[in-house]
């Protein structure tokens, strides 16, 4: 498997296959962040596409000494923020009512992933971004700080605050956690 640096060099040399491989390699990551940030499939598609096109056009500015992931996520996060700003007056597309005990109507099924998705939508965009970059994209706090342009300490504070807030929302939604000592 080609390294990112090799792939980028081939892309910049005009290798069409390399370009295809590059897009294939990263489109899932980019789309995922867009979808989680924007909460809408079509918007996420548009922004993911825009982000990848921008990234490819700026590949010559990528520092091959540094990892590709944070660099590409920075471009994507900026595009997401721009998209959010453009629609800032429109409500966030979510069916999350936020009413306590909503799960009680369907106690047999607790889809934690879905609940978490819904809970994320009520967070501030920057806290949501912080959580996504750390947990979904596995960036370190320092890398998240680079992407969001904030010190590592601020990112840690946001991360713990966001986790606490999400747990509160999940509890309000009727998710009952059980403490397990065996890990």
């Amino acid at each position: 498997m080609q390294t990112d640096a090799e792939l980028v060099t081939s892309c910049l040399d005009g290798d069409r296959d390399a370009l295809r491989k590059y897009v294939d390699r990263y489109q899932r990551m980019v789309f995922s962040l867009c979808y989680r940030m924007l909460g809408n499939y079509e918007d996420a598609e548009d922004v993911a596409q825009e982000s990848l096109v921008r990234a490819v056009r700026a590949l010559d500015r990528w520092d091959s000494e540094r990892p590709m992931k944070p660099w590409l996520l920075t471009i994507t996060a900026n595009r997401c923020r721009t998209a959010l700003m453009k629609r800032s007056r429109k409500p966030f597309p979510t069916d999350f009512s936020g009413e306590p005990g909503a799960l009680d109507q369907n106690p047999g099924r607790v889809d934690l992933a879905e609940e978490l998705d819904l809970a994320l939508k009520v967070l501030l965009p920057v806290h949501r971004e912080c959580f996504l970059l750390f947990h979904e994209h596995q960036l370190s706090c320092a890398e998240v700080g680079e992407v969001l342009g904030h010190p590592e300490g601020t990112i840690k504070t946001w991360l713990h605050r966001t986790r606490k807030k999400l747990a509160e929302i999940l509890r309000q939604r009727g998710v009952v956690p059980e403490l397990s000592y065996e890990l």
Partner: protein
């Protein structure tokens, strides 16, 4: 074991993405409601994240993106082009610095042949020869020029004094008739005469000093 220690361990576990060993905390957690809740939240979030990160429903954007990039002239490879493009730049920079050093630090070694020459009164004179005699001559020139300038300044001041008086008394000039006004200003050419003479002398002096300039 206290609440602060547990809080620190929880935060460290989140940041390092490591599991939280709760066995050692069992006793504390049974007594402390807040800590037990914090640990429950921690585990709940970890489970939720575990399920949530398996995001499968991704569209294939490859063809659309490649179509958008069709016709784009992507810039050359950063690593390759950077190193190649830097070569001429570095060469130019190094050459420029070398030339600058040669100009700044390559002083004449004192030999007559290497010493630069200049034209003095139409004849080539070595700059070293010039320096010794010039020092004395220049001091004299500066002294004479200073005297000439002082003299000019004195003349100018004495000429300006009656003019200032005339300007300060415009009413009297206005009420006087034309001939009276003319009489009053008739001193001006006479006052300016010494200034003109002094100026002519200065020009002659400077022309003698710098014949090439004077002939222009």
């Amino acid at each position: 074991m206290n609440c602060n220690e547990l809080k620190q361990q929880l935060e460290a576990a989140v940041e390092a993405r490591t599991p939280l060993p709760l066995n050692g905390w069992r006793e504390h957690l049974e007594k402390c409601e807040a800590c037990r809740r914090a640990c429950e939240d921690h585990q709940l979030l970890d489970h939720a994240v575990e399920e949530w990160t398996s995001f499968e429903d991704t569209p294939d954007l490859t063809e659309e993106i490649l179509a958008l990039l069709d016709g784009d002239d992507l810039p050359k490879s950063s690593t390759q082009s950077m190193s190649l493009s830097r070569i001429p730049l570095i060469t130019i920079l190094a050459t420029s610095v070398a030339i600058l050093f040669i100009i700044l630090f390559n002083k004449p070694n004192g030999s007559q042949d290497d010493s630069p020459t200049m034209l003095v009164n139409g004849s080539a004179v070595s700059q070293d020869d010039l320096r010794a005699s010039e020092k004395v001559d220049l001091e004299q020139v500066i002294l004479e020029t200073r005297n000439a300038y002082g003299s000019l300044l004195g003349e100018a001041q004495s000429t300006m004094a009656p003019l200032k008086t005339a300007i300060a008394e415009p009413e009297s000039l206005a009420t006087d008739n034309h001939s009276a006004g003319s009489e009053r200003l008739s001193f001006v050419p006479a006052e300016l005469q010494p200034l003109k003479e002094e100026f002519t002398q200065s020009v002659s002096f400077l022309t003698a000093l710098f014949p090439e300039t004077g002939s222009r």
